[in-house]
């Protein structure tokens, strides 16, 4: 009975989403306030029923209700309780319901946060979100219903994929989804503005905090995914250019471009066309990501479903959600006027360069991801694109991007004098060049040109980002920094930290694989590893062989590590649990692998310098975003500008 209530709730949610779409949009077009007034109650009602449906799915998981097909496929009575909870999004149907839930939460937040905006605008935003929501709920109900029942329930479930039985899985998918789905908000703002025909500074100001919020979740989600694949997949890599990783990374790149272009539109009233297109692209790429991961065209740990009707349905949604707004844009584009110009050396010019380079990077990733699929669909052979190509195509636009970042931060709007820039930046540049070359040389005794360049750029970005905070806090010069400025400095410092980590771990990673028996010693990257032998371990849902290793440096014991070869009881899957000793400066990574017979085991060991910086950097970026969103001006100015736009459209408020 209870699962049927869940399905019923989802149907009611679809009805309310349709109401939330039709009446506010019609009301805004016809100027009828009573229709527009329905947008918020409909959004709230939709949220209640979506939450009820999701709650009921969780209830079925926690109570081992194996009469529900989805629960039977993805859970087991022996599964620890919190993995039962997370298993709700560990498969296709549940993850679509989760997508819907997250969208309902964003919609509710927009409904609550847009009260200060004109009703005509906010009801259109909610109406557009209603379209998105209707499309996805219909998709779930017609092709991926999580509440389907089994006539004869199995005694026990098929268990959750062992790779997903990990603490990282509790937060990685939610974070990623919140970010992915959050791209619907700037999309809705852009479409609403196109419908209104007024893309002004206020529109940019209202969109910005939502974009930053969605972006920071996406940043955290991707970072957690990278961290998870590093320790759980057992190979010690942190980015594989796997199509699934790419499909979350492309929206991120475009969203990052959108953040920066919104800044220009808000401050200067230019780049409007471009900003609108980026907002549409960011959401389209999120949907494309959903299509790629959920349709079965890709194969990886993420691809749950292999059902062509699902793929076609999402492809249809993708066509409607990107084609419709683009058509609208084609009609409106001629009416969008730039409100000013700028010089070659100005903040606008640097932000333009930022946008172009980020879009090039996103385009290259898109090309490399889709090309094999297109070739396969045309029956021209099965190919795969090697990581070296992605690495190169990514570095070519992003290294100049990072180098320009330092200058761009310190240039001012409209026009900047080159002399002032040079005078300001001579110190950070000097420090970066001096340490960028000597640091890797002193630490490792060798440095390749690319490593030196990348290290210089990383330090340059860090130094340029710290310049203003140091001037104010240490030297007590200049103006105090607002939270938005501080957020920008922190986020850019994070970029530098990330580049430094990526450079060092790529250039100085040391890896070895050996065949070892108990008592054997081997060397890796200045450490001596002693293999102490293997013991058998039993746990509720798996059994394991656990290898113990001593890590020594210069004859002194640094730490003892245990790595496991696990066999999960239900699915009989073998996984490797790597053992990692993390310090800020390096990780020692040891993975016990297959037995080779006669008590000999294959063992892989790696020393990975500065790998923590890879995740610390994006974390700082997200924190910077959080600081920026919490800036006072988004709360106070939003109210003022709303009042202003009611009387004089596009009043300059900067």
């Amino acid at each position: 009975m209870i699962p049927e209530i869940g399905q019923f709730a989802l149907i009611l949610a679809l009805c309310l989403a349709l109401v939330q779409t039709a009446l506010p949009l019609a009301g805004a077009a016809a100027g009828r306030a009573e229709w527009m007034a329905l947008a918020r109650p409909a959004a709230a009602g939709q949220f209640v029923f979506v939450a009820l449906a999701f709650g009921i799915l969780e209830y079925a998981f926690l109570n081992d209700d194996f009469s529900v097909l989805f629960v039977a496929q993805h859970s087991n009575s022996a599964l620890p309780v919190f993995y039962k909870f997370t298993a709700a999004w560990g498969g296709h149907e549940g993850s679509m319901l989760f997508w819907i839930t997250v969208l309902a939460i964003w919609t509710l937040a927009v409904a609550a946060g847009s009260r200060s905006q004109p009703d005509e605008f906010s009801s259109r935003v909610l109406g557009v979100l209603g379209i998105v929501s209707s499309g996805i709920i219909a998709f779930a109900l017609f092709t991926s219903n999580p509440f389907i029942r089994l006539a004869s329930p199995p005694a026990d479930g098929n268990d959750l994929n062992p790779l997903l039985q990990d603490p990282g899985m509790i937060i990685h998918p939610p974070m990623l989804y919140v970010g992915y789905v959050g791209m619907a908000v700037p999309f809705a703002f852009a479409v609403a503005a196109l419908l209104t025909g007024r893309l002004d500074k206020n529109w940019a100001k209202w969109t910005r905090p939502w974009t930053v919020a969605a972006w920071l979740f996406l940043t955290c989600g991707i970072t957690l995914g990278s961290w998870w694949s590093y320790y759980e997949l057992g190979w010690g890599g942190w980015w594989f250019w796997d199509p699934v990783e790419n499909s979350s990374f492309m929206p991120w790149l475009v969203a990052t471009a959108l953040l920066h272009s919104l800044a220009v539109t808000e401050r200067r009233g230019i780049f409007k066309n471009w900003t609108v297109l980026l907002a549409i692209a960011a959401f389209s790429l999120s949907l494309l990501g959903t299509f790629l991961t959920r349709s079965g065209v890709l194969v990886s740990v993420h691809a749950f479903a292999a059902d062509p009707t699902r793929g076609l349905f999402i492809l249809g949604l993708l066509g409607a959600f990107s084609g419709g707004p683009l058509l609208l844009y084609a009609f409106r584009a001629s009416s969008l006027e730039a409100e000013g110009g700028f010089k070659l050396v100005s903040r606008e010019a640097f932000l333009l360069a930022n946008n172009i380079l980020l879009v090039i990077a996103a385009g290259a990733v898109l090309f490399g991801t889709l090309y094999p699929l297109v070739i396969d669909a045309l029956k021209l052979g099965k190919i795969s694109v090697g990581t070296p190509w992605f690495d190169a195509m990514f570095l070519v636009p992003t290294l100049p991007l990072a180098a320009l970042l330092g200058v761009g931060m310190h240039s001012i709007w409209k026009t900047t004098s080159g002399a002032t820039l040079v005078q300001r930046l001579i110190w950070p540049a000097g420090i970066a060049v001096a340490f960028g070359v000597t640091l890797p040389l002193l630490a490792y005794g060798k440095v390749s040109p690319l490593t030196a360049i990348a290290t210089v750029i990383a330090l340059w970005v860090c130094a340029a980002a710290l310049l203003d905070p140091i001037r104010w806090w240490v030297l007590r010069r200049g103006a105090p920094l607002t939270r938005a400025q501080l957020g920008m400095c922190l986020a850019h410092f994070g970029v530098g930290v990330f580049v430094l980590g990526a450079t060092f771990v790529s250039a100085y990673n040391v890896e070895t694989a050996v065949a070892a028996r108990a008592g054997d010693r081997f060397q890796v990257g200045g450490y001596e590893i002693v293999f102490r032998g293997v013991k058998h371990v039993e746990s509720a849902n798996f059994t394991a062989e656990e290898g113990e290793f001593e890590v020594l440096k210069d004859g002194h014991l640094v730490t003892t590590l245990s790595s496991q070869q696990r066999v999960y009881r239900v699915q009989r899957t073998e996984t490797t649990e790597a053992a990692i000793d993390s310090r800020l400066g390096r990780d020692v990574f040891i993975a016990l692998s297959k037995p080779l017979g006669n008590d000999v085991w294959s063992v892989r060991a790696q020393v990975k310098p500065l790998i923590r910086f890879l995740w610390l950097g994006p974390l700082l970026m997200a924190l910077g975003g959080l600081l920026a969103v919490s800036d006072r001006r988004y709360r106070t100015v939003a109210r003022e500008s709303a009042a202003a736009s009611r009387t004089v459209p596009a009043a300059g408020t900067t």
């Binding site: 194969v299 099965k382 190509w389 694989a513 899957t573 017979g597 000999v600 294959s602």
Partner: protein
Amino acid sequence: MLLIGLVLAGVVVAVTFALRAFRENLTYFFSPTEVATGEAPKRTFRLGGLVLENSLTREAGSLTVRFVVSDFAHSIPVQYTGVLPDLFKEGKGVVVRGRLGAGGEFVAEEVIAKHDENYTPPEVADALAKTRGTVTR
């Protein structure tokens, strides 16, 4: 005008380099039958099929292994030095990346078997479906 011309020229050069690099980085997939009939190239490619039962042998004291990849019609011996992935098993699907060595042995640089164990990579499933139609088992 000159500026636009320069930018265009730059874009053309960049795209040319990107596409050339792209072609060099593509690795094609071949089935054991295609390799046996000489369709596979000299350069690096991917080979996929089932690991034959009881074909796995190890060199004592080293990480070098040998196994046979088959699509029921033809079999290709494969040599690999390194740690095999968790899901590598005899009788299961596998994809290996590498090139043909002297004597027809495939020298793998990478063994890919990263999915759940009842899963057959689609390339392998396709290749097997092709030969199953023609070969009686």
